[in-house]
Every structure is written in C-alpha cells, then in structure tokens.
C-alpha cells in the first residue's frame, strides 16, 4: 500500500545521493558560466577593489552567489553578512568559506533583496552587488537602490558590478553579434539568461547616489561602479 513504511534499513532523514553526470545542477557550474560570459574579467575585478575593504568594516554582500566578494572582504578582516535567495549557492559559499577558515567572519542568510527590512539603517560601510541587478526587474532595482541607500553609513560605499549596454552604436552592434551565442552558452550552463542593466547611472543619480569611480571592461559591457550615498 502507498502508506507502507520505508523499505530501507538506512531510512534516516538525511539520506542523499550524488549525481555523477557531467551536467549537474546549475549553481555548481555557475562560476564556470560566469567566467565564460565575462571572458574571465570578473576574476580580475576583485583584485582591483580589495583595497576598499579593511578590518572591522561592516560589509553586506547582496546576492553573494558562490561567495567571491564575501571572501574577499573577510580576508581583509571585515565582518560580512552575505545574502542570497538560492540555498544551493549559499551552500557552496559556506563550504568555500570553511575551506579558507573565513566562515567565522561571514554570516550567510537565505534572503532576497526585499527581505532586508530588519537590517539597521546606516549600518554598513560597504555594500556589494555583483551581477545581481541584471537579474532584478525594474521595480526590484529601484527598491534595491533605496534599501542600499538606507543601509549605508553616510561615508559608506556601494560597489556595483554588472552587465550594461555599451554607449556607442558601433560597440553595441559588435556586442549584439557576440552576445547571442554567449547567451545561449550561459543559458545552457547556468539555466538563466541575463539582461544588461539599463540606465544604472541615471537611476543612481535620481536615488541620491554620487559616483566616485567607474571602470568598464569587455567592450563596455561590464561595469564596475563605486558610489557614495548623498544626503537623503
């Protein structure tokens, strides 16, 4: 009968099994997918901004994914809160932190950008959002920027890294050609397609941020932007 007892001697609640096939679940291949689509540039950026983190800072990593920026900040002695709505990503990030003995400095929480209302205002020195905005809808992006503004100390910094559309028409045309096969590759490997974030700098201006540093990579398709909150 369908309600019979489990027919296993090992019927404990935590039984699991390992998939040995090549194409396992997306989060484990996420880093590979990102490396492909950004031509490896995303690996170089952390080195460039490591100097922004220091001991005893309060850092918030929004959408930490596999934990790259959380680990970077923790290595410099900061206290990190890392959030991501994907429990598989968090698991990978947690294991990486443990492997580097940085797990005591990082608090992982399964949360999305809209679940930060309990976080105290003007608390964080640094807030990182790497490849997050490109997965948010327009409303979510506006909401996120407002929350980030609220959560940052007045001398804090917002570190934004994401896909954008190049300014010049020529670059856009070239990029459009290259994007299609790459998007397909990303879709197959990570299970998602990403969209460039549109008009991030005007949005930042309208929501009271001031850009202090910007740098683009890969034909102006990848943007690193550092901004400071203005007065409210």
């Amino acid at each position: 009968m369908s309600t019979s007892q489990p027919k296993t001697a090992k019927g404990n609640a935590m039984s699991t099994y390992v998939l040995m096939k090549f194409l396992e679940s997306a989060p484990q291949r996420y880093d590979l997918g990102i490396r492909i689509i950004t031509f490896g540039k995303l690996e170089k950026i952390p080195r460039g901004i490591a100097a922004l983190f220091s001991i005893d800072q309060e850092v918030l990593d929004i959408g930490c994914g596999t934990g790259t920026f959380s680990l970077l900040a923790a290595r410099k002695g900061a206290r990190v809160k890392a959030i991501d709505p994907n429990p598989q990503m968090l698991e990978i990030a947690q294991r990486r932190a443990e492997a580097l003995n940085l797990h005591k400095r990082i608090r992982f929480e399964e949360k999305g950008i809209a679940e930060l209302d309990k976080e105290p205002s003007a608390f964080y020195d640094r807030i990182v959002a790497s490849l997050i905005f490109s997965e948010l809808s327009e409303n979510e992006q506006i909401y996120a920027l407002r929350e980030i503004h609220r959560l940052l100390k007045s001398n804090g910094l917002f570190i934004f890294i994401d896909e954008i559309r190049p300014g010049s028409i020529l670059k856009r045309a070239i990029v459009a050609l290259i994007r299609l096969p790459l998007s397909l590759v990303t879709l197959l490997i990570t299970g998602k397609v990403t969209h460039p974030v549109s008009e991030i700098e005007p949005k930042l201006r309208e929501l009271h941020f001031r850009t202090v540093r910007r740098r683009t990579y890969n034909f102006d398709t990848l943007l690193l932007l550092i901004a400071r909150p203005n007065g409210r």
Partner: protein, 402 residues
C-alpha cells in the same frame, strides 16, 4: 524614467492595463506571436501591480509570473474581472517550469509584495497564486516574511473567474493538469515550427530533393503524435517493468518500436504504390525513422500529464507517513494529478493513485507537517528539506550533495 511618485519615495501606483479588446489584441499579437513560436526563449514582461477593471480595497490579488506568453494569456482570461494583477519576477520563465526549477520561490513572491506596494492598495492580505507554483513557493515562508496568506488558485487561468465566483473554491477539475486537443495542437505546432526549419536546412546539404517532403513529414509526424495521443496514451504508463540500468526510458509498452515500424512500413508501402517520387526509398525510410526517433525519444516529457522518461526521479515513489499526517489537506489542494484521497474517518490523506504521480514535489514542498517524502530508486528517503532546497535543472536533475 522614474515615475514622479517613485522619485519622491512614494509607493508606486498600480499600472493600468488597457481594457479595450482591440488594443490588447494588437499589443498581445506581437507578444503572442513571438512568444508562441519562440516560447523556449525567456521573454519577460514588466513586473509590478496592475489594475484589472475597477478593483476596490477588497478586490482579489492574483499573482502570476513575468513570462510574456503567460502574462498576455492571463490578461485576456481575466479582462472582465475587477481585481489586482501582481506580476512577480519569474525570470521570463513560465510558472510551472520556474517554480520547479528554482526561479520562482517564496523569495520572488516576497519581493513582488514588497516592491509593488500592493499592501497599500487592499485591506486584506490574501494572495491567489497559480496552483502550479506550489512546486517552488513555500507558502508558509511567504506568510512568515510578509504576513500575507497564500491561496492556491486553479491550475488554469481560464478557471479563475469561476473560482472567484464560487467563493474562491476549486472544483476537483480545476486542480488537475490536462492535455486537451487544443493544447496538443499547440504543442505539435510549437515543436514542428522550428524543427521543420532545422530539418529543411539539414536536408539542403544532405539530400536537397527531400527538403520539402521532410519538412512536411516533420509537421505530419508531430501532428499525428500529439493529436493521436489519447489513442496510445494507455501504452505509455509504467505497467511493464523496465530495467533500471536503461539511462532513458524510450517509453514503455514498446511504443517507440511500434512507431518506427509504422514509419518504415508506411514509407515502404508508399514507395511500393508509386506514391514516393524517389529512387532512394531506403533513404526515405532512414530519415523518416530518424525523425520519428528524435520526436518520440521524450514523448513522455513532451506532455504535461506524464513523467519524462529521461528524468532520474521517474522511479521515485511518493510516501505519506500516516503517523505524521495531521489532515492539513494541502497535498490534495496542490497535486496536479489528483493522486491523493482524504480518509474522512481517520482524518488523514493517502496516496491513492501513485501511478499518476509525476514527481513534481508540490505536495512535499507544501506539507506543513513534513509528512510526505520521496523514496528514491535505491530505497533511500529524500526528505522534504532536500526537495525544497534542491531544484531541477534543465536536464531534470536534482543535484544533491553527499
């Protein structure tokens, strides 16, 4: 670019959806045409809160994802309602796939509630979600985080008006996924359209004379298989024991073998009758059989009512622990195949029709007492927490750590 109200930090106003049928039809035409034929692409609509008709402060809040085809269809199905439409970010993926694949979870619903300003617009706190979102949205976590309650609406948008009229009660029919003629016709078209182009392209290089016939055959085969589905559906059920070492179940009952024989036989018969204008009958047999093989390799998974023969969890059983069950009846509410019955004297549920189970996991995800779990093909228990945490990827695999 930011609405004035948004700039001042005021909660965004709900958008208006144009009511005029012609306007929506024209705007929808582009959406429908593109998303109908290119539906495998993640085409997105804008998220947020929209007015349907003239909703007041007690109007129902109907939640959907932002897959363009879904949005255009629900708008049409609900154009006579007075309600709010809350479009959540399902990342351009339809409800069922998004929820089961981890792209539509309680996090996306919480985000929709918080970023849309719906809390300011109505006095109640009830969200009506499509039933097929139950594989991914943990209803109790939505409530814990926002205070809003999740009500599982019907499977199909077209049933929502009746659902609302009958006091938000679902008939048993409204809970079940079906595969009617119109859907089968749609599936056949959506498969054959890109496939026929690819086939024609391949034939262009291998056997140009067969370009058009093979493209036509692609359409014919797809239509025959999908429209004729009720005729051979019975042979596809796992009544026969299939060896577990087979990586893929080509479908039980020898369906595929039969199809290949039929295809080869028809080609040879046509040639014999002089109706096949070619001097290479065996080439015709070869290519048509190859086509039949490709289309039918996952005939099971191409339907919404059967489990894919390529998914590793097709052998998993759904088990309900009668000691733990407290009669919440959530499983009955969310199962898309009507697998459960409720035992009124004992006040618990039971898995009455396990053969119908397509291992979607909705019952396991939603049970407030964790009374349900999978028993995998090695006899190991796959606990509710595991099912909630690990979603299916594009190949239907749920990766679980050791």
């Amino acid at each position: 670019m930011l609405a004035k109200s948004e700039q001042n930090g005021i909660v965004p106003e709900p958008g208006e959806l144009s009511e005029h049928f012609l306007i929506t039809l024209l705007r929808d035409f582009k959406a429908e045409f593109l998303s109908f034929l290119l539906r495998f692409l993640p085409l997105s609509a804008k998220t947020g809160l929209y007015r349907l008709g003239n909703p007041d402060r007690n109007a129902p809040v109907l939640v959907t994802g932002n897959y363009l085809l879904t949005v255009s269809r629900v708008r049409r199905a609900w154009r006579h309602l007075d309600a709010y439409l809350l479009i959540a970010n399902s990342h351009g993926i339809n409800i069922w796939c998004a929820a089961t694949g981890g792209f539509l979870t309680h996090h996306e619903i919480i985000s929709a509630v918080k970023t849309s300003g719906v809390t300011e617009q109505v006095d109640h706190r009830n969200l009506i979600l499509p039933q097929l979102a139950a594989t991914g949205v943990e209803m109790h976590r939505v409530t814990r985080s926002t205070g809003w309650h999740v009500i599982w609406g019907p499977v199909y948008a077209k049933d929502v008006p009746q659902f609302l009229r009958s006091g938000q009660k679902k008939s048993p029919e409204m809970r079940v996924v079906k595969f009617p003629f119109s859907h089968r016709l749609e599936m056949a078209t959506v498969w054959a359209f890109p496939a026929s182009f690819i086939v024609a392209l391949i034939m262009r290089f291998i056997w140009p004379a067969a370009m058009l016939p093979m493209a036509a055959f692609t359409w014919g085969l797809a239509l025959a298989l999908f429209l004729g589905f009720p005729l051979f559906q019975g042979t596809l059920y796992p009544g026969v024991h299939i060896p577990r070492w087979l990586p893929v179940e080509f479908s039980v009952g020898g369906f595929q073998l039969l199809l290949l024989l039929l295809t080869a036989g028809s080609m040879l018969l046509l040639w014999n009758m002089g109706l096949l204008p070619t001097s290479h009958p065996w080439r015709a047999v070869g290519f048509t059989c190859l086509m039949a093989l490709v289309l039918s390799v996952d005939i099971l998974g191409s339907t919404p009512v059967l489990k894919s023969g390529t998914h590793p969890d097709r052998h998993w059983q759904i088990i309900l622990d009668p000691e733990v069950c407290k009669g919440a009846k959530t499983c009955l509410d969310v199962c898309p195949k009507n697998c459960f019955d409720f035992l009124t004297e004992r006040k618990i549920a039971m898995v009455a029709r396990p053969v119908e189970c397509i291992q979607c996991g909705a019952c396991i995800v939603q049970c407030p007492f964790d009374a349900l779990y999978f028993l995998n093909d090695r006899g190991f228990k796959v606990a509710p927490e595991t099912v909630r945490k690990f979603k299916l990827n594009l190949l239907g695999k749920r990766a679980v750590k050791i």
